[in-house]
């Protein structure tokens, strides 16, 4: 969130139009005297590198496209490309290097990928979160590859003493066009490395018709063989010589601490070497460890046995009052009263007063948890004023800074090695487990691996925030003329500041204040709700509750008005236009840290995915008894997604989801096969959220502990036939997010389908036995 907040600040410092003026300067150079210099790197007529501005420059470390940082070529021709983003399953570790390889005309079979350590000054931003990897780095990666290609061509031209127009890079070699002679990339590597790097103005990008890998979906993920043979290494798998294993008994209530503990029994367990107390950090603690008592041993098994034998008396603190059931009532009360106005258009009060009919509904989503298949883990080796970390972190740069701060050492002395992440979903954006490892290694003088068990993971997470939405619609003359939505949800900003009590602009911009409806009277409000647990990003974050309420309500209104839900959704979206709500939002419109002009909110694109998904799903087809189709659309992470979910509900109320059609417009996409895998996964996660997922608190304690009581979707429980339909675009349409946008439309589409099938409307998640009871 520091980076989130940081980029907000930077966004305002950075004039959006700056790039346009640079573009004008560039035109001047190309048509004027600069052409001679540029020509050195312009062998063929290709597209000039004319990047559109993104939020990448406002992130810590910004954007780097230096080919010498990202690419190296060995004499044998092996091309090594750096992956600077963490791999948690989205495929970015393959996709971004694939972009570099394509632009430089490298043969993918001769490409090796190495994972960058955390070093944002060198690589640019590494915070793998917010569906940003391709969105922010496709341009620099293309520039990187193109620059390397142009250097190789220049080196070949120099060798042959010919003009640049006579050479062309082609599949790992440079060809001398008149003679047909060629030199391999390996042969040219040394000479190319000595050349100056082309400037941004001199970069020429390939024409899309020349792409070998981009957009083809034929490149498989680089770790595929290792994953299927058990060789892929995650943080839980890391072994460092002399390493000890630690598990931590953490306070069961956030903000609590160990009042006293008795380590005698734990120390008697064979293999246990030490018991170390970790001090709690006063709130707001950012990603600081919760504190507690660590048992350090020769093996994980001994550490676990030691922890079981540990006797700790906890002092709970004020959050011991947290009770999910009572909190739901508290949130409902807050949502039923006027709140703080976050966006206002027209006169909602007058619209409600003058309405033919007023419809009011409430929607609830409980806390959820990521439950990544790999529970958090990290190894730390602290020696003197230096530290080395091995961890499954989404933000190695942020981790490096946090570890340095914790240890009171210079960031340069901290090395963060990124392993593969066994799932991330936002959980591993928080590096608390790496900070625990660093604390324990410093305390013991030994390398220490902190292992989180599934119970640790489920009971000490950063939870997807609970949410209560109260929506009021005013109907007049058969049309929706007014929309008032009150959103109540504890804020994840509570990790960074004393409890803000309501959603921040950063959370409201996730599907509430950026809503592009064509309703003349619209007011969006927030109500108060204190954070009494650790709240954290969860794949798609607040877009989930906001979209659930809005897209459910739209279907409810369609029913009320006797209209087809798809047609009515299109009616609410309104005519194709750029919806700019920046002037009607009270504080500021959070636009994912990106310049609005690059990613304007385009209702035409939103309507297009609605039509596409509906057409592919056969919207309007005759359904069997007990079956129904539901539709929902949402724009987030600058992408447009619509899902049509088909359900079948049997006489006992059991729901099956035989088919899902999801249309996504994510701008220029580079790996359709991985886009599809993300959409398939989003449907499974969406169905988990809709049907099963719930974290509850009693006396401040999480009541779930493992997969028996924190249930997630299993194979055969639906969403086994997810069909992805991608809107095609060329590179002129900015690439946008893919990892998260598939999640928010799923739950409302699912419930709209259940309504179509049964006439029953579910407004409280999860489903559990609401249809069977």
């Amino acid at each position: 969130m520091e980076s989130f907040a940081h980029s907000v600040a930077k966004y305002h410092d950075q004039p959006i139009l700056k790039n346009v003026s640079r573009r004008d300067v560039l035109k001047g150079i190309v048509t004027g005297g600069g052409l001679v210099v540029a020509a050195q790197f312009v062998p063929t007529a290709m597209a000039a590198y004319d990047p559109y501005p993104t939020g990448a420059t406002g992130m810590p470390g910004g954007m780097v496209w230096d080919p010498h940082v990202y690419v190296s070529i060995a004499k044998d021709g092996t091309v090594t490309i750096v992956s600077h983003r963490s791999e948690m399953g989205t495929g970015s570790r393959t996709s971004l290097p694939m972009v570099v390889a394509d632009e430089m005309e490298a043969d993918w079979s001769k490409v090796k990928i190495v994972q960058a350590e955390g070093d944002e000054a060198k690589y640019g931003n590494q915070d793998t979160d917010g569906s940003r990897s391709v969105r922010h780095f496709i341009q620099p990666m293309r520039a990187c590859g193109a620059a390397m290609r142009q250097m190789l061509e220049r080196a070949a031209a120099a060798t042959w003493a010919c003009s640049d127009v006579d050479v062309r890079a082609e599949n790992h070699k440079v060809v001398h066009i008149p003679s047909g002679n060629s030199l391999g990339f390996g042969e040219l590597a040394e000479a190319a490395a000595k050349l100056p790097t082309p400037s941004a103005k001199q970069i020429n990008l390939k024409d899309p018709s020349q792409f070998r890998y981009i957009g083809k979906g034929k490149v498989q993920i680089i770790d595929l063989h290792d994953i299927t043979t058990g060789k892929a290494n995650y943080a839980q798998d890391i072994v460092v010589p002399g390493m000890k294993f630690a598990v931590v008994a953490r306070p069961p209530v956030v903000g609590g601490k160990a009042k006293s503990f008795d380590e005698a029994a734990a120390m008697k367990v064979p293999g246990v070497v030490k018991v170390v107390q970790i001090a709690p950090t006063p709130a707001p603690g950012k990603f600081a460890p919760l504190g507690g008592v660590a048992v350090i041993a020769d093996s994980t098994y001994a550490a676990l046995k030691g922890r079981a034998a540990l006797k700790v008396t906890w002092e709970d603190g004020p959050n011991a009052a947290y009770d999910s059931e009572k909190f739901k009532e508290q949130m409902a009360a807050s949502a039923r009263n006027p709140g703080k106005i976050e966006r206002n258009e027209g006169d909602i009060d007058a619209a409600i007063k003058g309405a033919d009919k007023v419809i009011e509904h409430e929607y609830y989503i409980p806390h959820g948890h990521h439950a990544t298949m790999e529970p958090p883990a990290a190894v730390a080796k602290v020696t003197g004023d230096k530290a080395e970390i091995w961890a499954c972190v989404q933000s190695p740069g942020g981790t490096r800074g946090d570890v340095a701060k914790l240890l009171g050492v210079d960031e340069k002395n901290v090395k963060v090695n990124v392993t593969l992440l066994g799932g991330g979903f936002g959980r591993k954006s928080k590096c608390d487990f790496a900070l625990e490892a660093a604390t324990l290694s410093k305390a013991t003088g030994m390398p220490v691996k902190v292992v989180w068990t599934r119970e640790d993971d489920i009971q000490h997470g950063f939870y997807h925030s609970v949410s209560y939405q109260h929506v009021t619609a005013a109907i007049k003359g058969g049309k929706v003329v007014g929309w008032r939505q009150r959103s109540v949800s504890p804020s994840l900003m509570s990790n960074f500041m004393p409890d803000p009590k309501r959603e921040s602009a950063l959370e409201l911009g996730l599907g509430l204040t950026d809503t592009p409806f064509g309703v003349p009277n619209l007011r969006l409000e927030t109500g108060e709700a204190p954070a009494m647990a650790r709240i954290g990003w969860f794949r798609a974050v607040n877009n989930i509750p906001h979209a659930f309420a809005m897209q459910s309500m739209i279907a409810e209104l369609a029913h009320e008005l006797g209209k087809d839900p798809k047609d009515f959704l299109l009616e609410i979206i309104g005519p194709a236009r750029v919806a700019d709500m920046r002037k009607t939002v009270s504080s500021e419109l959070w636009h994912y840290g990106d310049p609005y002009e690059t990613y304007p909110i385009d209702t035409g694109r939103l309507a297009n995915v609605v039509r596409l998904a509906a057409e592919k799903a056969g919207w309007g087809r005759k359904m069997e008894k007990g079956s129904g189709l539901g539709i929902a659309a949402h724009r987030c992470f600058q992408s447009y997604v619509c899902s049509v979910v088909e359900v079948n509900v049997d006489s006992k109320g059991n729901v099956n989801v035989p088919r899902v059609d999801t249309a996504i417009d994510c701008g220029f996409h580079i790996n359709p096969e991985r886009v599809a895998s993300q959409i398939e996964g989003a449907a499974v996660m969406g169905l988990s959220i809709a049907k099963l997922v719930e974290i509850t608190f009693k006396n401040g304690r999480v009541q779930q502990s493992n997969f028996h009581d924190y249930q997630v979707l299993r194979i055969g429980q639906g969403a086994m036939d997810v069909r992805t339909h991608i809107v095609p675009h060329g590179p002129n349409v900015p690439s946008t997010g893919v990892g998260e946008p598939g999640v928010p439309p799923f739950a409302p589409a699912f419930y709209n389908a259940i309504f179509a099938a049964t006439g029953k409307r579910i407004r409280n998640l999860p489903l559990r036995d609401q249809l069977t009871a």
């Binding site: 994953i227 593969l420 895998s677 997969f707």
Partner: protein, 149 residues
Amino acid sequence: MQVKINQQAKDFSGDPEMPLMWYLRDQLALTGTKFGCGTGLCGACTVHVDGKAVRSCVTPMGELSGKSVTTIEGLHPTGDHPVQKAWRAANVPQCGYCQPGQIMNAAGLLNEKKNPTDDDIVQAMQGNICRCGCYQRIFAAVKSAAKGA
């Protein structure tokens, strides 16, 4: 006691209550067997004991005397078991963490049933959780491996 791990004889004299998973991971560095839940609920730690898929996190070492354990590392010398090949052909994995367990479980199913029905596949694979949501591809890969097996 004697136990065979990937065809190699091992002499084990430690705590008989220790789950096989920790022996494999911490002592033999066979980390392809993943730690997911520790209670037999997620399947990430699945290995074969005498050819049958079991959850190594709830299998005590004391029960393994004279038995033969196969881990993902020992499933096939070059990683070309029909299930592994089918997995790659279907581009199943996303993060990959649960996949060794999924593959071992699917291979265990095919050891027992050469031609599983769709229901057999779902029944057998339901103990293996994938949070990335690769289920439709897992299903397709098991079906295709069964055809090729």
